[in-house]
């Protein structure tokens, strides 16, 4: 089978629908804008910078044969810095041992979109990188054919050489480098992409992460590790309440701390938070420790502002009350009210679920180094969205964006937090206050990270369903009450927006005649950000627990009940479910495929031995999810003791993400997603009192550790289909884990946990 460049851009241009774009305005502040553009662009084409597939941008060959491939997307642990260059190397028949990967600086005009977020890297760049590699290979072949004066059809690139098959003559890539670069770049329709059976690296697990060895030796350089001569270190005391300000401060004690050099005031944010620094006082010192000591010695009086009344227990009541009232209808099919009123009392089920705020807590806290030399600025940072950092710094220093160079270092985790460049902006503000050319490394401590994060939302989800006399679900109401990410960019934005509802609330594909999905208009009092898998977390938690509850009420096996609700394999237009967002992808290319959903459910269940007899106190729980264009399912086995302590024995994780580019890294994401899903299910919670985050470090913001981690995580990669467009991998593993856990706890104990984190079952 030959894969042509059939995933052409033309297909992207069909149709018309609204898409959310997180667009960076000229001022460097970010606004959420609903583009309602007649010439609708989908996927990568809807992203700033789009895609670039010019081999001269991404590939260079040295005369010694070393092939240098540019990784233009930041590495935060998914392996993308390896996977995309590996795709190029495969298509161009380069030997991986002779490939060097270099990291691109922020430049979307040159490289295409660089915002590593939304599980988009392979989804948007698989085909462009294949084209880059194929074009490079064809240019090498053309150069060799020209040297031998033979038709190009007689030569073939094989493992770093071009071979003239008839005569056995060959040139190494290094020998052809100069000539090949002078060859015209082939047109897209003249590209010959490899047939799948000719792949050497794609789908093969032959390539390890490029940084693996350096990581193990402590030589890998993260944002936290940047060093420059004369560098100084800064930490910031930020307003404890979002929107607060410094009323007055006294820095004399701070300045008396040995090693402290200076204090710098960071202006308070105003209006919607966006990517603005929160404000506060920075302390600059000769090392991070002195800066921290200096910060502790600051005396600051804060003006807390309106969010000082934010209190998590009161707010939960607000959410609950909102979830019990009619909300804004975002999907309406049939007549839910009528079906509800027809159902006998005993056949009506109502449940409310709660997921708290979560902090990302990447092991490397946010950190950025900035150096200003005249009208030129250079930044070194671990950031998911380097262009946003460039634009924020340029706006802050009133420079042209091209005067700001942002170097992307390894990220010690990101999970959505490091999409926001506020910390780079802070470093620029401090650097501006220092003598010319002083490099400033601005470090967030763990306390800063947990107390001033762009938090995952907090939500109450209310589900109502009726079961008819034949045991079928006749009506389904899902009402979400949660502050929206849009409040980050638009002051006063209330309640979930379409792109949030379209993460596992609105786009539910079950065969239920009467469906209504609503959102409640609730305000935000914290910076609401996006956390790995975003609104899928609360929506899938609620809906997937609720299906198990319905199965139990109907007296049916959960797996069979779910498969019956999903029905036979078919492709659904997401728009028909009211999901006109579809992760910005075309509904034709990415329909909701219930057959693929069935596939992962079956794979996870079979892997876990669904239906087997379990010891007393054990339970198996299932949950599944469609997110970021991929299908996932999880089956968790737990043991619950008589004290209510929960031990997770095993997790089976299944994914269908379409073509599998780097299966070993897909498995790693499934394992990591299982652990992160269990973390949020079992121990993590951010709460507010008096507008302030209560938790401050890993002693009270708990995440899963070795001892609570399941000893067994089995991963099941389903349906490696190169005829399908790729789905996401980084985020999709997370959402099914928490509901699978709670369903397992129910199976083990008969007790329903509807509020996270679980901690103990009482």
């Amino acid at each position: 089978m030959t894969i042509t460049s059939g995933l052409s851009r033309r297909v992207f241009l069909q149709g018309s629908l609204a898409a959310l774009t997180l667009a960076v305005t000229a001022k460097g502040l970010v606004t959420a804008a609903w583009a309602d553009d007649a010439a609708q662009k989908y996927g990568a084409d809807s992203m700033p910078g789009g895609t670039v597939d010019d081999p001269l941008v991404f590939v260079s060959i040295a005369e010694d044969g070393t092939v240098t491939i540019v990784a233009h997307r930041a590495e935060m642990g998914t392996g993308v810095r390896t996977s995309l260059p590996m795709v190029v190397a495969d298509e161009m028949e380069a030997r991986w041992e002779q490939v060097k990967v270099v990291q691109a600086e922020a430049d979307e005009t040159r490289y295409g979109n660089q915002n590593v977020d939304g599980s988009r890297s392979v989804r948007h760049f698989l085909m462009p990188m294949r084209r880059v590699g194929a074009a490079a290979r064809q240019m090498l072949e053309a150069a060799a054919a020209a040297r031998w004066s033979v038709p190009v059809s007689e030569v073939k690139a094989v493992q770093h050489e071009v071979v003239h098959e008839r005569t056995g003559r060959r040139f190494g890539y290094g020998e052809l480098a100069v000539d090949a670069a002078k060859q015209p770049v082939p047109m897209v329709d003249a590209l010959k992409l490899k047939a799948r059976e000719d792949f050497r690296y794609i789908g093969k697990d032959r390539v390890r992460m490029v940084d693996l060895e350096a990581i193990g030796k402590g030589q890998a350089i993260y944002g936290m590790d940047k060093r420059l001569p004369g560098m100084v270190y800064a930490v910031v005391a930020r307003p404890p309440v979002v929107g607060g300000k410094v009323r007055r401060f006294d820095a004399s004690k701070a300045l008396a701390v040995p090693g402290v050099i200076k204090v710098v005031e960071i202006p308070a944010m105003s209006g919607a938070p966006g990517f603005q620094p929160l404000g506060g006082i920075a302390v600059v010192a000769r090392n991070t420790w002195a800066a921290r000591q200096g910060r502790s010695a600051l005396q600051i009086e804060w003006d807390d502002g309106a969010n000082v009344s934010y209190d998590s227990s009161t707010y939960r009541q607000t959410l609950q009350a909102a979830a019990r009232k009619a909300g804004k209808v975002v999907r309406n099919q049939g007549d839910v009210a009528k079906a509800w009123s027809k159902a006998p009392e005993a056949e009506r089920l109502v449940a409310e679920y709660h997921v708290p705020h979560l902090a990302h807590a990447s092991m490397e806290p946010p950190v950025a180094t900035v150096q200003i030399k005249g009208d030129k600025v250079e930044a070194w940072t671990s950031i998911q969205n380097p262009i946003a950092a460039r634009d924020a710094v340029a706006a802050r220093l009133q420079l042209k964006p091209e005067n700001v160079k942002v170097n992307v270092l390894l990220l010690g985790g990101g999970f959505g937090r490091k999409s926001k460049p506020d910390f780079v902006d802070e470093a620029a503000i401090v650097a501006r206050a220092m003598p010319e050319a002083t490099p400033v490394k601005l470090v967030w401590t763990r306390e800063d990270d947990i107390q001033h994060d762009y938090l995952h939302t907090v939500s109450v989800e209310r589900l109502e369903a009726a079961i008819d006399s034949r045991g079928q679900v006749s009506s389904w109401l899902h009402r979400s009450a949660a502050p929206t990410i849009a409040s980050l960019f638009t002051e006063g934005a209330m309640g979930e927006q379409l792109f949030e509802s379209a993460m596992s609330a609105i786009n539910m594909p079950y065969l239920i005649p009467n469906v209504r999905v609503e959102t409640a208009e609730v305000p935000a009092h914290a910076r609401i950000g996006w956390f790995r898998s975003v609104a899928n977390i609360p929506h899938a938690f609620a809906a997937q627990c609720f299906i198990a509850e319905l199965a139990h009420r109907a007296g049916k096996d959960h797996r069979q009940f779910a498969l019956d609700l999903i029905g036979p394999a078919c492709q659904i237009d997401p728009g028909a479910m009211g999901d006109t967002w579809n992760y910005t992808e075309s509904p034709e290319r990415y329909p909701y495929d219930t057959g693929r959903l069935r596939g992962v459910i079956n794979a996870a269940c079979e892997g876990a031995g669904w239906g087997r007899t379990l010891p007393e106190g054990h339970g198996l729980g299932l949950a599944f999810c469609y997110s970021f264009l991929s299908y996932t399912a999880a089956v968790v086995e737990v043991a619950v003791d008589d004290q209510g302590a929960v031990r997770v024995l095993s997790v089976d994780m299944a994914i269908d993400c379409g073509p599998q580019i780097n299966p070993e890294r897909i498995r790693a994401q499934l394992e990591g997603g299982a652990i992160m899903g269990l973390s949020l299910a079992m121990s993590s919670e951010i709460t507010f009192t008096n507008g302030r985050v209560v938790q401050s470090n890993f002693h009270d913001y708990e995440v899963l550790r070795h001892n609570a981690s399941p000893r067994t995580i089995r991963t099941h990669l389903v349906n490696d289909d190169h005829n399908l467009p790729p789905g996401g991998v980084g985020e999709p593993p997370v959402p099914p884990v928490a509901p699978a856990l709670c369903n397992a706890i129910f199976a083990a104990t008969g007790k329903r946990v509807r509020s996270l984190p679980v901690r103990t079952v009482v």
Binding site: M224, R227, W289, M363, G672, N707
Partner: protein, 157 residues
Amino acid sequence: MTQLQINGQTKDVEGSDDIPLLWALRDELGMTGTKFGCGMAMCGACTVHMDGSAIRSCVTPISAVVGRAISTIEGMETDRVGQVVQQVWIENNVAQCGYCQAGQIMTAVSLLKTTPKPSEEQIDQAMSGNICRCGTYPRIRAAIQQAAGQLAQGAQL
């Protein structure tokens, strides 16, 4: 000025001796393999060895390590157990973002030095102070068991 013994070499740290070893290593000596994760002995990212046992450098002032042999991740390449652990870490493709892994490796090496054949529970006990937010725990466990096996074989040869 404080004199320290790090990876077999003498290093001078300027300034006061109450600075935690972590920041002396990273900011004053430029040895950035040892990582900052929490600053309060809660995450293990900053783990180094003092006379062979794992300590959290973020809460250990340099005054407390004067005259003691400190080894860091940068010194593991010349350590017999360290080499084996680094190698099995690669073979098991343990790392995701990798930020926690220097600390994980340092704790694993000290575990294997005191407990050459650790049980599941001993692995839990030794390793639970090291957080990995990317969730590499199952591979870390597998890697430690593999390293233990290899070290035991090596000892017999």
